[in-house]
Subunit: 319 residues, 2 copies
């Protein structure tokens, strides 16, 4: 009931004044700058902003990569901060834009959201489509070092460097490259936490839904890290949120994490948020892990608490 009371309280908060839309916002040609590297496959009106279905050729992965970019109405007349959402195993760039309900909240706060894909697709590596938790749809937001994955499975470089640079170049008057945050779900929660911790200063804030919090100690993580990184477990630790938070060198680390207690993957020990929480608190971090009674691992869970997460990031991005 506390969560529901909090949910209701959000509806009486005040809303900042927003500038009106201009006609230029609605023209796809607006995005066709000289540095444009994206193909716009669709422009869809949603929550008074625009959802762009984009594709580009990635040098990081050596494949075409799809993404969704939500531009809130405020971006018609000013630069807006940017929130990267990293999806979980098996997801594409589409799922959360359809089922996560983030766009509503992004419009209220005036934040753009980037929904990247979860791996290269069509890299033509033997075995890449054999498992739902390794290879296609399961890039784990790391740069693989082991053959044959190391050529294409370079999602850390893609998410932290190539994709944002391409976005800043293509949308210079809409996206504010100085105000960027990151969140994600499950494998994407692992991605958000680890990329934040590995790249101090890159992101203003981080949050996660049901993150894989200690991958070196769970089956999903062990399978992915042995496949992408090889057998040296010291290398694995460089991509494990629980290990990374122990050595965090930035200012006070903060995060918001939601985990459903009816989440089967949580119950199976794939997520291990307690390990992260313990390590983070020992490191002096302000970590709020909210165990949400009865919630599962689905978008029904994500969409329920998305409003809180976007509001959390707005505190860092919109001040």
């Amino acid at each position: 009931m506390k969560a529901f009371a909090s949910f209701l309280q959000q509806h009486v908060r005040s809303i900042p004044h927003l500038k009106p839309l201009t006609a230029s916002f609605t023209s796809p040609k607006r995005y066709s700058t000289a540095k444009m590297t994206f193909e716009t496959k669709a422009t869809i009106a949603n929550f008074h902003g625009k959802l762009l279905k984009l594709s580009h050729n990635s040098t990081s992965t050596g494949t075409p990569m799809n993404l969704n970019l939500y531009l809130p109405p405020q971006s018609a007349t000013q630069k807006v901060p940017v929130l990267f959402y990293l999806s979980g195993l098996t997801c594409t760039a589409e799922n959360c834009s359809e089922k996560g309900f983030m766009q509503r909240h992004a419009s209220i706060h005036g934040i753009a959201i980037v929904y990247p894909d979860t791996s290269p697709r069509g890299a033509n590596i033997t075995g890449e489509d054999d498992s739902w938790d390794f290879g296609t749809g399961a890039g784990f937001y790391i740069d693989a070092t082991k053959e044959p994955w190391s050529k294409n499975y370079r999602m850390e470089s893609y998410i932290t460097s190539e994709l944002p640079q391409a976005l800043w170049a293509a949308f210079p008057d809409k996206l504010d490259s100085e105000r960027v945050s990151i969140f994600g779900h499950s494998m994407g929660g692992h991605g958000a936490l680890t990329l934040f911790l590995k790249h101090p200063g890159m992101y203003k804030s981080v949050s996660a839904f049901a993150p894989i919090s200690n991958p070196i100690n769970c089956p999903w993580g062990q399978k992915a890290f042995s496949g992408y990184l090889g057998d040296d477990k010291e290398q694995w630790k460089k991509h494990d949120a629980t290990e990374l938070v122990k050595g965090w060198k930035g200012k006070g680390f903060k995060t918001l994490i939601d985990v459903g207690t009816a989440d089967n993957f949580y119950k199976q020990g794939q997520l291990l948020p307690e390990n992260f929480e313990k390590a983070a608190k020992e490191a002096g971090a302000e970590v709020e892990v909210r165990y949400q009674p009865e919630y599962d691992h689905s978008y029904y869970f994500i969409s329920t608490f998305g409003e809180d997460h976007v509001a959390y990031h707005a505190k860092f991005l919109c001040k």
Copy 2:
């Protein structure tokens, strides 16, 4: 921008006080009454209420029928009003519960939402799966009178009689059978408008997203009505919202309708909301048809304006 300003204003409205949840709400056994006719396939936490994935054997259709029922948190301790959502062509009971984001708003107002399926499935009628706009997934919320459809394709009886009776019997302490409204999308918008008009007093209010508003004059409606009802066009008129509103005998007819101007089906003349609006206004009705610039026919459109529609129904259901 007017729509966005209105959207923002909603977030500063006051929220009614709500009673706390009780433990009984969370137990599936709670629903196992003597009159229980539903199998509960899943109970999913969502927006502080419960989404139930239900199935039952329908005598109207002679087939099993799936539905989704969203019970808001308020239903733990009191009867809540009920809003039926009728989906469009090709949809199942699932789509809008995943992509419509009605549950959030239902929790704020304390309204249950019923998401029925759009047709019988597995009736084993030759040709029922040949088209996406006729047969399976395209029941059109009418009782077919023409063989071989007349045995199973009886969605009007199902939606207006069998299903609500079964729900009132199964959830006697949660659902208030005296406060019921209806809305829907496309074919389901046709269903909502026509069932409201054909059954005066059954529903407190009606609204629609991109409804098929004058089916006797559009290809979808003509195909469905000739298939289900035969060639007598006088019979067709009994199931056409534009024809029905001309003869509305109840008190002042009111409705809220949203249509996206970039909706390809609108542009192709499948929806014809202008015909309905003209007929309704000539009949003295208060009809608000909002033409939403740039919006399409998708759940991105529905989810954007769902908040307005649930709030519209709350004015009738929660006073």
